[in-house]
């Protein structure tokens, strides 16, 4: 098949976005058609790509900077990588994206601004596909900002609501902060190696170029020649060379990008607030795909991360902290979407922890299954909210399973998959992930297991309170089931949430095969351990499910006392306090500089200078013809004099 077809992965959503931006936002039906159409086209192409019918097209050189002597220039291209990693991610992004698009048709049916909404979705699809396919960090960064933009636009979709506008700003600012670090990481990479390419071969070459001296010391030349593998690639030329400090800076910088986009611990505050956006957006962007982009990026540059042990440990720690912390907070949240948001945080923490622990395949496996069941949970929650006329407090729900059985059933499946109930997708991925962590350090494993138990606890709480027991409000007594175009995506996602992890489907084996060449260099492939992988976590999970049922069954209000958990550990408050103090100080200084130096000295100073010179020159403008004639003649005479006699 013609490789140029692959360009439509980017062009179709882009065209849709531009069309909607320019005109179609006034015609919601047409906008919907364009957006869903482009998403479908992407999905079809993604299938062809995954089946190997399409080869990557020739890269298009976007920016070409000439080099100087001794330093290479920089060629930045817009290209595509089709390797196992990107193919799988592409399928996830376009597949979940398509389902969410379809769900949105029903969910947003009565919103007058839905043309704009679908425009935002198209921008997102364009950028997200670009991230997945990017061949170099600059291209990746470009699309990285693109998803940030679409996220901002869609969180603030109901911008008349003050909280939504504030949430959009918060998300944007947090991402900007993190992207600053990301940029430092990218630049360090470029300075060190003179390239920004993240093609697998180049990364392997980089890895080997730095590690080869050690390898050479242990291997004979014959052995090296006999095992070229993916490793013996040409080392990228240019750059100032590496040093351990620079490598660590680079790894931490790249991870900073992930911290922002995947909402890791210090910058996690934007993600729960991002739930102000429409629910399909929460499902697609803030649960299934965009926030997973950070994890995907880490997996993509995994050979680079391996170069820094400290960096790896830091990544694992941050992931672990986030996972545990978010699971704790989720226990006492009451907003259905916020619970899911903290659950997302927790699961992302898992994935990042897995990357840091040397299990990128486990991270990607969990990312995939998580995309299925978290999208399902959010869409089902959206269906519930839709059914209850925008009611999001779980303590005002209750008894829903009889009235909206389909939504309830799919939500239940999603919940079981999330908590890792044996047989569901999450069971396989989460437990594989935990065992990968055990190989790195048992501490991470145990924290992960406790987090899994907490997850089971709060998800059971959510289901028990919202779907069982007495109905606690009028809206909850008269819900209505959602239309079919909303339930069909739910059913499809529910099926995927069940079977996604089955060994029969081979997703795990697929990612494992991808990661083997990456892992071989560092650590041995983990031995399967049935006890650690399955039995122990499952016991914890089942126990906490039972505990939650006992605690919450039939309760009218939250039986647990109001604790620090309900206030999310006061992180927002601390930030506010801290920011208010520091920011006020900086603002005062800046205000002084602005008022006195910029405005006073530079702006007004130059203005007064001009006025003064003008006043001076005004003296010559007497309006008298004689003066003009005199000055003119004087000028001519001087001119003649200096022309003829001055040399």
């Amino acid at each position: 098949m013609d490789p140029y077809i692959a360009w439509f992965l980017l062009l179709a959503p882009l065209a849709s976005a531009i069309a909607i931006l320019l005109h179609l936002y006034r015609l919601p039906a047409m906008a919907m058609f364009a957006s869903v159409g482009s998403a479908s086209l992407c999905f079809v192409i993604a299938i062809f790509v995954a089946l190997g019918y399409v080869h990557p097209p020739d890269a298009w050189t976007w920016i070409s900077l000439p080099g100087t002597t001794g330093h290479g220039g920089m060629e930045i291209e817009i290209g595509m990588i089709f390797d196992p990693l990107s193919k799988a991610m592409l399928l996830v992004v376009t597949g979940v994206g398509l389902l969410v698009h379809i769900f949105s048709i029903g969910y947003m049916a009565n919103d007058p601004g839905r043309g704009r909404f679908f425009g935002g979705l198209s921008i997102f699809m364009f950028s997200m596909t670009g991230i997945v396919l990017a061949t170099n960090l600059i291209e990746l960064f470009f699309f990285w900002e693109g998803v940030g933009l679409s996220s901002y636009l869609l969180i603030g979709f109901w911008f008349t609501k003050e909280s939504a506008a504030a949430a959009a700003n918060k998300a944007f600012v947090c991402n900007r902060l993190a992207d600053f670090g990301f940029m430092i990481g990218i630049l360090t990479y470029w300075i060190m190696l003179g390239t920004v390419s993240i093609k697998p071969a180049d990364l392997a070459g980089t890895y080997n170029a730095i590690n080869l001296p050690q390898v050479e010391s242990t291997l004979t030349p014959a052995q090296i020649a006999a095992n070229p593998g993916p490793a013996i690639a040409v080392r990228p030329s240019g750059g100032i060379g590496t040093s351990p400090l620079l490598i660590t800076i680079m790894v931490l910088g790249l991870f900073a990008g992930c911290v922002g986009k995947s909402a890791m611990f210090p910058l996690h505050v934007w993600l729960p607030d991002a739930m102000e956006g429409p629910t399909p957006v929460s499902a697609l962007i803030h649960a299934a795909t965009m926030v997973a982009a950070g994890v995907y990026m880490l997996c993509r540059v995994y050979p680079l991360l391996l170069l820094s042990d400290a960096g790896m440990f830091f990544i694992a720690s941050i992931g672990c902290i986030t996972a545990f912390f978010a699971a704790l907070v989720a226990i006492q949240q009451n907003d259905i979407k916020r619970i899911l948001a903290y659950s997302t945080l927790s699961q992302l923490g898992y994935m990042v922890m897995a990357v840091g622990c040397g299990g990128p395949d486990a991270a990607m496996f969990h990312l995939t299954t998580h995309a299925f069941f978290k999208a399902l949970l959010f869409l089902a929650a959206g269906s519930v909210i839709h059914a209850l006329h925008e009611e999001q407090d779980i303590w005002k729900m209750g008894g829903l399973w009889q009235k909206i059985p389909l939504t309830s059933a799919t939500f239940g499946i999603g919940m079981l998959a999330l908590i890792g109930f044996p047989g569901f997708a999450g069971f396989f991925s989460k437990d594989y992930l935990l065992s990968a962590c055990y190989d790195y350090s048992p501490i991470f494993y145990w924290v992960g297991v406790i987090t899994a138990a907490l997850t089971a606890f709060y998800m059971t709480r959510l289901v028990v309170v919202a779907f069982f027991g007495p109905a606690r409000s009028d809206a909850a007594r008269h819900p209505h089931e959602s239309p079919r175009n909303m339930t069909i995506p739910l059913i499809l996602l529910a099926i995927l949430s069940v079977v996604g992890g089955w060994p029969l489907l081979g997703i795990k084996a697929y990612f494992h095969a991808w990661s083997v060449p990456l892992l071989q260099a560092v650590i041995a492939v983990p031995e399967p351990n049935a006890f650690l992988e399955m039995i122990l976590p499952s016991t914890f999970v089942l126990f906490s499910v039972g505990l939650a049922v006992v605690v919450y069954w039939g309760q009218e209000r939250d039986p647990l006392p109001d604790t620090v958990l309900a206030h999310k550990f006061y992180v927002d408050e601390i930030y506010n306090r801290f920011l208010v103090a520091v920011q006020q100080m900086v603002a005062n200084i800046l205000s002084w500089i602005d008022g006195w130096i910029l405005d006073g000295l530079i702006l007004r100073g130059s203005a007064y200078l001009c006025v003064g010179v003008g006043e001076l020159l005004r003296l010559f403008q007497t309006g008298s013809l004689q003066t003009y004639a005199f000055l003119f003649s004087l000028g001519s005479i001087l001119l003649i004099y200096f022309t003829l006699f001055s040399h």
Partner: protein, 108 residues
């Protein structure tokens, strides 16, 4: 001396000097006089001074191109006088004056 002057050979420089003197007289007129019409006349005089030097150069070089140039100058000067005087008339209608000290609207 006087006899000497009357019989001496007249050179190009003589003509040029006379042209320059006439030119300066016109210039002084332009600057000192206040009546627009007189100023205009002085300007004409400056043009004629330039004509004189052109004709002198033409004779000196043995080319007729200078004279053709003078011909054009005369033509253009005539057209210019017509337009300029029309302007003065229009101005007079508006302001009832042709004195330059009354025309200082260019002053800022």
């Amino acid at each position: 001396m006087g006899t000497n002057h009357l019989t001496m050979e007249i050179t190009l420089n003589h003509y040029l000097a006379v042209g320059a003197i006439l030119f300066v007289i016109g210039l002084i007129g332009v600057i000192t006089r206040r009546n627009l019409i007189i100023i205009y006349m002085s300007l004409e005089m400056m043009l004629q001074a330039a004509n004189l030097t052109l004709v002198a150069f033409s004779r000196f070089n043995g080319h007729l191109d200078g004279q053709v140039f003078v011909f054009f100058v005369i033509t253009v000067a005539a057209a210019e006088v017509a337009v300029g005087l029309a302007l003065i008339v229009a101005l007079y209608r508006l302001r009832q004056t042709t004195q330059v000290q009354d025309l200082t609207t260019l002053k800022f």
